[in-house]
């Protein structure tokens, strides 16, 4: 109960005119960014990090969280109206949202998506304030051995679950991210690696320029390469926007289940909102009495997808805050932003800033309230936003990518890094390499490097403690199973064993 009391107290503290103003504009901007195909939540949060570094830490984190929540929700607008997901998280939303829009019920679909997103975020917030403190406490017992496996676990699972074609490409993306993190001064002996005599490289490759490139510039190239830039929206003839209470009540089990699934998906390192939406959608369809309506404008399917992707937002913050391991690409940027604002995410957060988790929960509630307000009141206005041509939108985004990365440390080198990551990111994307493991690799590279070498120093070069400590062993088993599951021969062998066991039981 104390967690909920803290949450209420933190929420009351946020109710100042300045905080409400920040929450109002940043959520609106987030929805606009999310609704525009080609601009993703991660790009929005990365660009906003560069725009908020002069704000005080509470305001800056509020702005970033509101941007994140708004952008994930905003993706549903274009998914419903255009059948083009504004962000990858809304791909499942388009399946049932667009058929509803084609039937002239775009407004009602957006209303339903809004309520679903609100429920998802609220379920996630509840789990965030309940799970994060004990998880941080448990993580206090982690040593170098456990942190090493945690970093490996993040890369392997993220690579496995986000890869489009083969997990191998996910692993490669993760290793490339780790390699990027090896550039510059290392954390134990301060030895400079792979700088090739450049003082800029000696300082390492910054996460923000890399992410703005991979998610900003690469998105611009992707958008200009792929589409003509003229968007035609579905006509809305809805009689109402606010969903009926009976609709909301009828899908209460679906909403809560999707909220829980989304949050749990969010907790898994590097696995983002799109997986949360698909997992919730598939689970809802499997248990639904109206499964045949899925994909044809099912209210339940739309609710499940939107609840699932929105619940990932608070879920992804659980490992980000307590372990400094991001649950999604956007939360990876948030971790970098927290460091910029003097907050050190990790197991010590509950000792150094015990109120931080409830503060984040309260900020998310505020973002959810504004999201609901805009979602239900500005439905038709957002249709106009979608008509902005790419020819006018993309140069503005690129200018922000350039000046945003430069502003952080005022180095021209950061602009070069952003451009390089944009070009490489575009090529990798075209070849179906996921970006989330790459980002996770850059974030976790330092942790993995230091933990392995510290662990080996503690054990005098002995590898045994890496495999015998209980938490390490659990990580090792999960990692091994995840990798082995990719081999067809192993899958056949396991299926054979299970079939023989079933026969014996029968």
């Amino acid at each position: 109960m104390s967690a909920l009391t803290d949450l209420a107290a933190a929420f009351a503290l946020l109710l100042t005119p300045m905080m409400l103003f920040h929450a109002a504009w940043s959520t609106l901007l987030g929805i606009i960014i999310g609704s525009l195909p080609g601009l993703t939540a991660t790009m929005g949060v990365a660009l906003m990090t560069t725009l908020t570094y002069s704000l005080d830490s509470t305001s800056a984190i509020l702005v970033l969280l509101c941007m994140y929540v708004g952008a994930i929700y905003g993706g549903s607008r274009s998914a419903i109206l255009l059948n083009i997901p504004g962000t990858p998280a809304s791909a499942a939303t388009a399946l049932d949202g667009y058929p509803l829009a084609k039937a002239g019920r775009a407004g009602y679909a957006m209303g339903l998506a809004t309520v679903g997103s609100m429920i998802g975020t609220l379920v996630g917030i509840l789990l965030l304030v309940l799970i994060a403190p004990p998880l941080a406490e448990a993580a206090l017992n982690f040593g170098s051995f456990e942190f090493f496996w945690l970093a490996v676990f993040g890369i392997v699972i993220s690579g496995q679950l986000t890869a489009d074609t083969t997990p191998l490409k996910g692993y490669i993306a993760g290793i490339l991210g780790l390699m990027v993190a090896m550039v510059g001064s290392e954390g134990i002996h301060a030895h400079v690696r792979f700088s090739f005599g450049s003082s800029d490289l000696a300082g390492g490759i910054g996460l923000i320029p890399a992410m703005v490139g991979a998610f900003g510039f690469a998105e611009i190239l992707n958008a200009m390469w792929g589409r003509a830039g003229i968007l035609a929206t579905a006509k809305d003839k809805s009689d109402r926007i606010l969903p009926t209470l009976s609709d909301v009540w009828r899908y209460k089990v679906t909403s809560i289940r999707s909220g829980i699934i989304g949050t749990l998906v969010g907790i898994i390192p590097g696995v983002g909102e799109d997986i949360g939406a698909w997992a919730s959608y598939v689970a809802a369809r499997r248990t639904s009495k109206e499964a045949d309506r899925y994909g044809k404008g099912s209210h339940e399917g739309l609710t499940a997808a939107e609840t699932g992707n929105s619940a990932v937002v608070p879920g992804s913050l659980i490992p980000a805050i307590t372990l400094a391991v991001p649950g999604s690409a956007s939360s990876a940027v948030l971790i970098a932003a927290l460091f910029i604002h003097g907050i050190r995410p990790g197991p010590l957060i509950m000792i150094e800033q015990p109120q931080f988790v409830s503060q984040v929960g309260a900020m998310l509630i505020l973002a959810t309230l504004f999201m609901g307000l805009y979602g239900l009141s500005l439905t038709r206005a957002f249709v106009q936003v979608l008509r902005v041509p790419y020819a006018n939108l993309m140069p503005i985004v690129f200018v922000l990518c350039v000046i945003g990365t430069y502003a952080l440390s005022q180095r021209i080198f950061d602009i070069w890094v952003m451009v390089a990551f944009g070009l490489v990111g575009f090529v990798l994307r075209q070849m179906k390499y996921p970006m989330a493991p790459l980002v996770l690799g850059i974030i976790l590279g330092d942790l993995l490097d230091k933990s392995l070498r510290r662990g080996l120093t503690l054990s005098d070069g002995d590898l045994v403690p890496f495999f015998t400590r209980p938490v390490s062993l659990v990580f090792v088993v999960i990692i091994a199973l995840s990798i082995l599951a990719n081999f067809a021969s192993v899958r056949r062998w396991v299926t054979g064993i299970l079939a023989r066991a079933e026969k014996r039981d029968a």
Binding site: I175, H189, M224, W225, P389, N392, M394, P395, A407, M431
Partner: protein, 160 residues
């Protein structure tokens, strides 16, 4: 280009990168002079990562070699011209104009040029084309003024 060909080419690049990283890690200073623990040498993790990347590159090559020729295509569902113009404009702006011209002018030129090129309608009347150019010029000026003011006056950034 088929995905399997693209994967084979990537496997060669990644293999070379992995081996270079492994060799770089192996030949890296082991800081014996500072008497550090041999298990904490700075090149340890780069060596492991390089070897892992080379291994993954080998597996990628094998997977690509097994794939059928009629498999998925890559770099096929877009416009090379639009991509080249976008990349060209962005690179000229980020790598040449910024730092060479004052930020206001580089941004105004880039934004106006980008908008004018991509909203150009060759078949439209002279009036429509003139209006489109005017909109691009106004957009360029507004974006340059807005970003310069925001970063220089509000965030106190010394613009490039």
């Amino acid at each position: 280009m088929t995905m399997s060909l693209a994967d084979r080419l990537t496997a060669i690049v990644l293999g070379a990168l992995g081996l270079s990283m492994a060799v770089g890690g192996y030949t890296m200073d082991r800081l014996e002079i500072r008497q550090i623990h041999p298990a904490s040498i700075p090149g340890l993790v780069p060596m492991i990562l390089g070897a892992l990347l080379a291994l993954c590159a080998g597996l990628l090559w094998r997977e690509a070699a097994r794939a059928r020729e009629e498999d998925a295509q890559t770099f096929h569902d877009g416009s090379w011209l639009r991509l080249a113009v976008t990349a060209g404009l962005c690179l000229v702006y980020a790598l040449v104009l910024v730092g060479w011209l004052p930020f206001f002018w580089s941004t105004a030129i880039f934004t106006a040029a980008f908008s004018a090129i991509f909203s150009w309608q060759a078949e439209a009347s002279t009036f429509v084309r003139a209006r489109s150019l005017a909109v691009s010029a106004i957009l360029g000026g507004a974006v340059a003024l807005g970003t310069s003011a925001l970063f220089a006056e509000v965030f106190l950034v010394r613009l490039p």
